[in-house]
Symmetry: C2
Subunit: 388 residues, 2 copies
């Protein structure tokens, strides 16, 4: 990282600035700054943007990011692909969401990604792509750009995602775990903008957690940091997809919630759920949220129990990590206030006061867009020189 990175990310986050503002803000001698800006203009990354508003005296000229800069952002979910094209300031210029199935394997799913991207580029006349960022729903070796031992993704283990996409799309590519990408998004333009130490808990089909320490994503020794879905909460609990017993995910998350709701429907405990199950043959977490909102006690209790279990695991992590913010995101976080209320109640009741005095527990501000926003941030960080 050098001055070029600092200039480019400032223009990304603040828009057009004068050279004087850049030199002052970055605490760089003006002659050096001028040289860097000249080089960036030559390289097609920065352009002149007209005179600054007059404050008397000689008018200074503004510079801004080259308006032709384009990033591709991909949020690869278990059952969908979100693709977005943004400009250099990460403003969306085109986007699409396509159904997909991660279990079809990397060739099929990544072809869906490149096809969707081609379609968007053709529609918008986008011939330039500066970088592509993508989040995968499983552990990733960030350095190598491959997914590693993903439990729910047959065929993906060590598949060269980065290199294949770079070849197909023709631009530099950066790959990360989906939750890490969400942390980036929420930190850049969501609820956690001034928060260096935070946990982002994604409650979707499963449960994962992104960890940011001192403003940087923390990945752990093998890239598996934040894998809280398989923390054991009961010795003799139900068998989990990972093979162990009593993991958090075996109790809660979209898959477990639907399983429990369908069992309750079949057992005749919830007429509302039984009616929906009979109508469609299967339930979704949306059904459970709707029934809970309509006053179904079984559904409300399923959500509350899940929140308590998530809260219990997070309470231990609060003692251990003492973060200043926990962001709750993922599909289930959007089901209503009950889940967040339960998580908060457990953490504030059970943690030591010292560790929660300044702790806020909030819902993701970006919601379902956190992944694609973060993927655009990741792409821009690569293009602007963060990893070189």
């Amino acid at each position: 990282m050098g001055i070029e990175y600092d200039v480019l990310t400032r223009l990304r986050d603040h828009g057009s600035l004068s050279r004087a503002q850049l030199a002052t803000g970055l605490d760089v001698p003006r002659p050096r700054l001028l040289g860097v800006v000249d080089r960036l203009i030559e390289a097609g990354r920065v352009v002149e943007a007209g005179p600054a508003a007059s404050r008397g005296g000689r008018r200074s000229t503004l510079v801004e990011l080259d308006p032709r800069i384009r990033f591709a952002a991909v949020d690869l979910g278990v059952s969908s692909v979100d693709v977005e094209i943004t400009d250099g300031r990460l403003m969306p210029v085109a986007s699409a969401e396509e159904p997909s199935d991660i279990r079809l394997g990397p060739e099929v799913v990544l072809r869906r990604v490149t096809e969707t991207l081609s379609k968007l580029r053709a529609q918008g006349g986008v011939d330039r792509l500066d970088a592509l960022g993508i989040g995968l729903p499983g552990p990733v070796s960030f350095r190598e750009g491959v997914s590693v031992s993903p439990p729910i993704m047959p065929g993906w283990d060590r598949f060269p995602v980065r290199d294949l996409l770079a070849k197909e799309v023709g631009c530099p590519v950066v790959v990360d775990n989906d939750v890490n990408v969400m942390v980036l998004g929420e930190h850049h333009s969501g609820v956690a903008q001034r928060t260096p130490d935070l946990l982002f808990v994604k409650i979707g089909s499963g449960i994962g957690c992104g960890v940011q320490v001192g403003g940087e994503i923390y990945r752990g020794a093998d890239g598996s940091a934040g894998d809280i879905g398989h923390i054991q909460i009961e010795d003799d609990g139900p068998v989990c997809a990972c093979g162990n017993r009593g993991c958090l995910e075996a109790y809660f998350g979209g898959v477990a919630l639907v399983r429990d709701a369908e069992a309750a429907a079949r057992a005749g405990e919830s007429p509302a759920l039984a009616e929906r199950l009979a109508a469609t043959g299967r339930l979704t977490s949306r059904d459970i949220a709707d029934c809970a909102a309509a006053g179904d006690v079984i559904c409300t209790n399923l959500i509350r129990q899940g929140g308590r279990r998530v809260g219990r695991v997070l309470t231990g992590l609060v003692s251990f990590m003492n973060p200043s913010m926990i962001v709750i995101g993922g599909g289930l976080a959007e089901l209503g206030p009950t889940l967040l209320a339960e998580i908060r109640a457990v953490i504030y009741a059970r943690s030591l006061p010292l560790a929660t005095g300044n702790l806020s527990i909030v819902r993701s501000e970006l919601g379902s867009r956190a992944g694609v926003v973060g993927a655009a941030v990741l792409a821009s960080e690569l293009a602007y020189g963060r990893f070189t």
Copy 2:
């Protein structure tokens, strides 16, 4: 931190070096390095150390740390004070251990510290002190140099430890939590020398944990990171000193172990323990270790149960943090191999293989010296410019 810090810590960790070796090792232009070394010699921090071994050609001159540099290192325990004076390379030149009682409050305990230090200085003719590092058995505000809400330390809350010691001793002082200090020691000259991401678990009277991420101590938003002794492992467990129920410390650690052993002795379950209790009126963890080593099943089981509970908490933290090393230290870690074996068994059996593939779980190499070694490292970091 600048080149001065780099030069001084290199001379601390490698001994005498030539200017050429320093310039090459630090990747600094030679003229700039020569200027820095000259300034350090003038300031009485570095001295010439004679010619380097000849390799043909012109002989270069070695430099080394000024042999008059002295650091004071203090490890403040619940019931003892360890004080050591070291040279600039952290080699001990004098040391003392005194009984103490943290509950007597900061004035009494810190007077014990300064008196012990004065005695050592008088004995060794130490008139110069460059810095003092001290570890306290409770949460610390590192920035302010005060202890914060320490649960077992009446009178210590927000007491100005740093400023009082600096005034009494007449040198810069740096204060940290005892477990953070142990991590520093073990990372500098113990088992974790090349390990950037690690947990140091201290099992003493209570249980605490030091967290190092990317080679840096991680303190958390309020300085309470690593407080794992109060992670709840059972909803309806025994009441803990913190007021909650079922905390790890309510089950294990020196205090809980002695409580359970005395109960077993009184209940007639362990003749060996009963005999020792009758002889002295109280048991220590040493008694339990001795009886376990002599084949007493009750004692062995108490240690095994404790190890399983510690392992269970650590299993969750391994999933969350994915560290490359866990170091087990503190007084109880020295009781024999059973405790470590149980902790290892639980973590390796219950964690996901991806998170433990490269994880080593080892006993502290520095043992009871970890605190005082780390305090000397901390003092040298302050004196050499780490925190400026």
